[in-house]
């Protein structure tokens, strides 16, 4: 297996995740237009409004250690279950029959 590294232009064309600590997450959120209050609430600097999740409840970084920012549409999800909801909403959650998957294996 080779891990020859491509240029940034090639990397940029892929989807990827930035794996970060909580502190770094705050720094990046801040850089891209969100202000994190001491309480953990996230404020959109442009609109001044508090960010809410799909359930219309405020998102708190302190209370949601697994919070992720899914870019492409600036969606925040608190955990994998909410991420799953987002995938369904976008038509990106794919089901296959176990039988078919076994025959492929």
């Amino acid at each position: 297996m080779s891990f020859a590294f491509e240029s940034w232009e090639e990397t940029k064309s892929k989807s990827f995740k930035i794996l970060v600590s909580k502190t770094r997450k705050k720094e990046i959120f801040n850089e891209i237009g969100y202000h994190i209050l001491e309480s953990g609430k996230i404020i959109d600097k442009d609109s001044g409004k508090e960010l809410v999740g799909a359930d219309n409840k405020g998102i708190n970084l302190e209370e949601s250690p697994n919070l992720a920012l899914i870019l492409g549409s600036h969606n925040f999800v608190r955990n994998i279950a909410e991420y799953s909801d987002l995938l369904v909403k976008n038509g990106d959650l794919k089901f296959i029959s176990e039988k078919n998957s076994l025959s492929k294996d």
Partner: protein
Amino acid sequence: MDHSFLIPSDIDKSIETTKNLLNLIPYIKKWWKGVFEKNKDKIIKPEDQENLKKILPQLGKESSKPKDQQHPIVREFLNKYDILLGNDDIYRIAPKNFINEEIIPILKSYKEKEANQSIDIVNFTEGEAYSNYEKEPKKIPEILSNLEITKFSHEFQSLLGLSSHVTFLMWNGKRDQANRIKWSIKERYGEEGLRFCNCYSIGYVTTYLKSIQGMDEKKIEEKLWQLAKMPLFFTSSLMAKDKIKEITNQITDSLNGKDSYIAIHSLGKASDFAKQITDEIIKLDLDKDYLDLRIDRKVQRSFSKEKIREYNYIWYNDKGKSFHDLFKSLWIS
């Protein structure tokens, strides 16, 4: 050297792994330069990819400490580099200024317009979980795949996907990952959502579906939710002692309240807890009207790699016999 952030048995190996990461720095610098020169170079060898994967949870734990309490090696690493995980499953280490200068402008532009390409920001320990969940198609039993799944509510489709993924992870020995997802199911869908996921993992959902074939998807969704309301109990290997006591009391209450079908189920290491609970209840000698069934065996699912211990204990009375008959194929083959 302060090793306090690691449990003793992991110290030497993990520090060595971290050192390996730092040994990559010359290559990282080369790549950083190469980004602009379009230079191709090996950046992270396969063995280092594995090392990186192993140390991510520790990096996560250590990074949550105040900076002056972080291990010096980890602090140095976190001060200088960010880690990227591509959808090709390859980890890349990038200098901080690379993220600041190259990636942040892209992220900012996404705020203005939708983009096809996705750059997600996730924490260390969940990165792989998010990635795998997105990538891997959810394998479901044929009887379920024959239904028009898109006719289920969005929430139910999502819960089915999560339950399928958890089941696959559980039966393939990835219980830590499975438990983390189960935790998020509980946060999002509450106790009933978690109970549904457990019912799915044990096989109740598929078996029950056979009895309600021909109904429309809305009705099926309603019926399947009813499974999550039944006195079915599940143990986890992470359970605290008070939770064991709580389940013991709940089962005792169900038996005294004459629920018609009561069961406790477990997989792998959690089987010891389930056995402990049932042994306690048997000692109470509660009611002779219940028939009971203990199944302690090693089983293998069609999609799993190895046999896993499965411990089940079922109580049913006359009223619950039809229910038992429906599900007995799960225990008696």
